[in-house]
């Protein structure tokens, strides 16, 4: 495995990082990332990241929840113990709706969070960038760009020059 994980460069302000990201994107890198203490509006476009896939998980979760609620109550009324209450039918989607509705929301919530964890590969308690001494400020007040060594365009000197040219400070090589 490659000993070098990649290069990390620091930026002091949000606009600096934003414009630097646009330049890294335009330079054609694909295996890179920006570390920011808060989500920056529009940075996804500046980095060329596609729309998140989380909603797909949510949709599957929601449909599952709704069908679970409806089919559970239908099974109770029709199969498990048919019982006439108040002269009403064994099953009707009307009275099953509130429960199915709540389960839709419950399952969507779990699927959304599960999907977010899965797509973000969390939990991941070790990551090379965490070893960098300046990482403590990544979730505080500073912004970073990390370009990974396994990017096809990665070249130790050329990439370092690019990061310096776009305004990156404290450029450090990260070890795996």
């Amino acid at each position: 495995m490659n000993k070098t994980y990649g290069l990390i460069a620091a930026f002091d302000t949000t606009p600096e990082l934003y414009h630097a990201c646009e330049k890294v994107r335009d330079a054609g890198y694909s295996q890179w990332d920006a570390l920011t203490p808060f989500p920056i509006h529009g940075l996804d476009a500046a980095m060329g990241i596609r729309r998140s896939q989380v909603p797909r998980f949510s949709l599957v979760g929601g449909i599952t929840g709704f069908l679970t609620g409806m089919s559970f109550i239908a099974w109770l009324g029709w199969v498990e113990y048919p019982l006439i209450v108040g002269g009403k039918p064994y099953f009707s989607p009307m009275f099953a709706f509130p429960v199915a509705y709540e389960l839709t929301i419950l399952f969507t919530a779990f699927a959304t969070i599960g999907g977010m964890f899965f797509l973000n590969k969390l939990p991941m308690h070790y990551h090379p960038v965490m070893k960098a001494p300046q990482f403590v400020r990544a979730l505080d007040d500073r912004f970073y760009i990390v370009i990974e060594g396994n990017d096809p365009k990665y070249n130790a000197t050329a990439t370092r020059d690019l990061l310096a040219k776009i305004g990156g400070k404290d450029i450090v090589e990260l070890e795996n």
Partner: protein, 477 residues
């Protein structure tokens, strides 16, 4: 209307209309920067435990012991230790349940509905309000769980949760009480999940700070819950989407929870309960009471921790105005109930409302009107909203009034039902009073633990609303 002074006449249709830029009120005062926010919020958790905290914690624990003793006595003896007797078989237990669950609703409104409406002022009160939601749901859940007496029956013979009894008969899913079990348990679960997702980036910040300070024990604990968050934008992208979806599903959830709570009454045939206005009226009341509690909690917190730069006068104004709006809606609902009782020409319904206002529980009714309809009207005045002490006192009145609202609805209708021969007067037993009083201790106990160990404001969200967070420079917005 004067035309603009120029040589040529102004065109009938302007080529471009520039909307007037109304300056927005700043959300963080004194141009605080990112690092200041981190230091301020983390400093509360990292600093030494203040003396007042220990006193409050001790007091909260003592008060909470009232609930514990009341519940132990209840389980050991039976539900007869509560003051319920025919015809009032629903009383303080469900009053307290609805009261607490309603309080929780403001937390979800702030975290979910205001998120969808892009109300950026929500950021600094969001975390504490969501914590309030979770702890309020805990307090609320005590009552339905313990009103079954033998609490283990709540699960296994399925007096609450869907398991068949010994005759293999299942719950009646046509009953709003069974819907309520699903609504409240979903609400509690989703509130915890939503709160936790919001916490992840801040726990990452705490982890890194404890690591840098060399406190590896705390770094491990916070790090475990931070799940290895590193603030990468590829993570933020999914995170933001997940947060948006959670806000999107929490919005119908919070509306449905109090709607279903109101079905507990509205689906019955008791005069004074059997009204279609209940769902919206209950939701408005829930948000009203919840904002009362948010202000009751946040104003002292703001004063103690000197958070005036983060919870600004603008935040207090917004909260007061929501309280005013929802309080007025509740007042409208009260008058509309009376109108419909008259217009519906049902003698039982008419009697129920006359009895509420002028019967033997009239004292409770007028406390309710005073606290819920008159109190919020003071928030029309800027001078009142700027007087934090007064706002705090008024918020207490809101809390009291909303408890009385549930008491009035539930008890007056039952105490005077269809048959005069069965009329009665309900008074709570000592056990009931102590159990309810103790829930304030339970709530405070949990809330004090929260402010001691968890960052009380979402740092990542507060940072995102200051001008320095704008990638295009602050002048453009």
């Amino acid at each position: 209307m004067g035309a603009p002074a120029s040589d040529s006449p102004a065109p009938a249709i302007l080529a471009e209309v520039k909307p007037v830029v109304i300056p927005r009120r700043v959300l963080v005062e004194h141009h605080r920067d990112f690092h200041w926010i981190t230091e301020k919020i983390c400093g509360i958790v990292e600093g030494k435990t203040p003396v007042w905290w220990w006193w409050c914690f001790g007091l909260a624990a003592i008060i909470a012991s009232f609930t514990v003793s009341g519940l132990v006595y209840l389980v050991a003896t039976g539900v007869g230790v509560w003051g319920h007797a025919n015809p009032v078989n629903w009383a303080w237990d469900i009053v307290n349940f609805v009261f607490w669950i309603g309080i929780g609703h403001a937390g979800t409104l702030i975290s979910a509905i205001l998120c969808l409406l892009r109300q950026k002022w929500r950021t600094s009160i969001n975390r504490a309000a969501e914590a309030m939601t979770i702890f309020a749901v805990v307090c609320a859940a005590i009552f339905p769980v313990f009103h079954v007496g033998r609490i283990w029956f709540a699960v296994m013979p399925g007096w609450l949760f869907p398991f068949p009894n010994s005759n293999a008969i299942w719950q009646n899913f046509r009953s709003p009480l069974e819907w309520d079990v699903f609504a409240v348990s979903t609400y509690g679960t989703v509130s915890v999940l939503f709160w936790y997702v919001g916490l992840i980036p801040d726990l990452g910040t705490m982890r890194d700070r404890f690591t840098a300070a060399g406190n590896l024990f705390k770094a491990r604990i916070y790090g475990f819950f931070a799940m290895g968050w590193r603030g990468s934008n590829r993570q933020w992208s999914n995170y933001e989407m997940a947060y948006l979806i959670l806000a999107g599903i929490s919005t119908p959830l919070v509306l449905s929870v109090h709607t279903i709570v109101s079905f507990d009454f509205a689906v019955s045939l008791i005069p004074g309960w059997h009204t279609t206005i209940f769902p919206p009226y209950f939701v408005a009341g829930a948000i009203f009471s919840g904002f009362g509690m948010v202000m009751t909690l946040m104003l002292p917190l703001r004063a103690i921790y000197r958070l005036e730069d983060l919870i600004t006068q603008y935040h207090i104004d917004c909260m007061c105005k929501i309280t005013l709006a929802t309080g007025t809606m509740v007042g409208y609902a009260y008058s509309m109930e009376f109108f419909i009782a008259w217009y519906g020409a049902n003698p039982y319904e008419g009697f129920a409302f006359i009895n509420r206002a002028f019967g033997h529980y009239a004292w409770a009714y007028w406390i309710m009107i005073g606290c819920n309809v008159i109190t919020p009207q003071f928030f029309w005045f800027k001078s009142v909203r700027e007087n934090t002490t007064l706002v705090w006192i008024l918020s207490i009145f809101v809390n009291v009034g909303m408890w009385f609202e549930r008491f009035v609805i539930i008890v007056t209708s039952l105490a005077r039902d269809f048959l005069p021969s069965s009329w009665g007067y309900y008074s709570p037993s000592v056990v009931e009073i102590f159990t309810f009083f103790g829930t304030f201790g339970v709530f405070s106990f949990l809330f004090l633990l929260f402010i001691r160990f968890v960052p009380i404001m979402p740092m990542s969200e507060v940072k995102a609303v200051i001008p320095a967070a704008d990638p295009h420079g602050s002048s453009k917005h």
